[in-house]
Symmetry: C2
Subunit: 142 residues, 2 copies
């Protein structure tokens, strides 16, 4: 399904679960099962944190549908066991997007903090527009 520039095996258990899901069924249930109830999502666009499992699920699902596509791939991994940085790149509307997922897990192996940053400026502007449209669509459909 994916074609990362990094191995998808051999990580610490927390990060390995993430890769297994990314490279596996990639289901909403699989994602939900990895999130702590009090998980916090920190967007590349907005400063204020998004708190709790439902809103984090909505953001990560929207990100998967906008950033995703066939071009998304992880390019570097910084695995520290209880936290990790995953660098990625993808294309959106012809714009090259380079970013990081910064993930922290709690003692139960659930994700408690998920932060995303992207570069360059054009990319963050593109993500801003696309994520806004996707979240509005999800809200209208909900």
């Amino acid at each position: 399904m994916t074609k990362h520039l990094v191995p998808v095996k051999g990580y610490e258990p927390n990060l390995q679960r993430w890769f297994d899901w990314m490279d596996g069924d990639h289901s909403p249930e699989g994602l939900a099962g990895q999130l702590a109830e009090d998980v916090v999502f920190r967007s590349p666009v907005v400063h204020s944190p998004q708190e709790g499992k439902p809103i984090t699920l909505a953001y990560l699902t929207a990100a998967g549908q906008t950033l995703g596509g066939d071009t998304f791939r992880y390019t570097r991994v910084f695995d520290c066991g209880d936290k990790a940085v995953l660098e990625f790149e993808c294309e959106m509307d012809g714009i090259h997007v380079n970013g990081v997922d910064m993930i922290e897990w709690n003692e139960d192996g659930k994700i408690r903090d998920f932060k995303v940053m992207v570069r360059p400026l054009k990319a963050i502007q593109t993500v801003h527009a696309a994520m806004g449209a996707m979240l509005a669509k999800m809200k209208a459909g909900a």
Copy 2:
């Protein structure tokens, strides 16, 4: 000099040299001594890489003078020996800036790749304006 939210000691040798410089004399010579001749700098604003030691020095010096100030501090560290991610936060013109330094070292312990990302959107816009002005000033003075 700095007031990081992370320890400044206890890292792998490569990253420790960086912290010793950050928390030490912070001199241009000290910075230059850490960079490989073929180092590449990747800005949060522009996609195209900046190649070579002189331009990387110029960017890192400009960043130190604009992002720096008293509010700059590292908040999380992901140390992988030959590469590391350092998360930071600071304030610029009242705007909260959150970002990462992503550093890779070569086999001689010199920095061969330095990438910066910042969030949120307002912060990258602020960095864009400030870095542009600073680089123009440095160019005019050179």
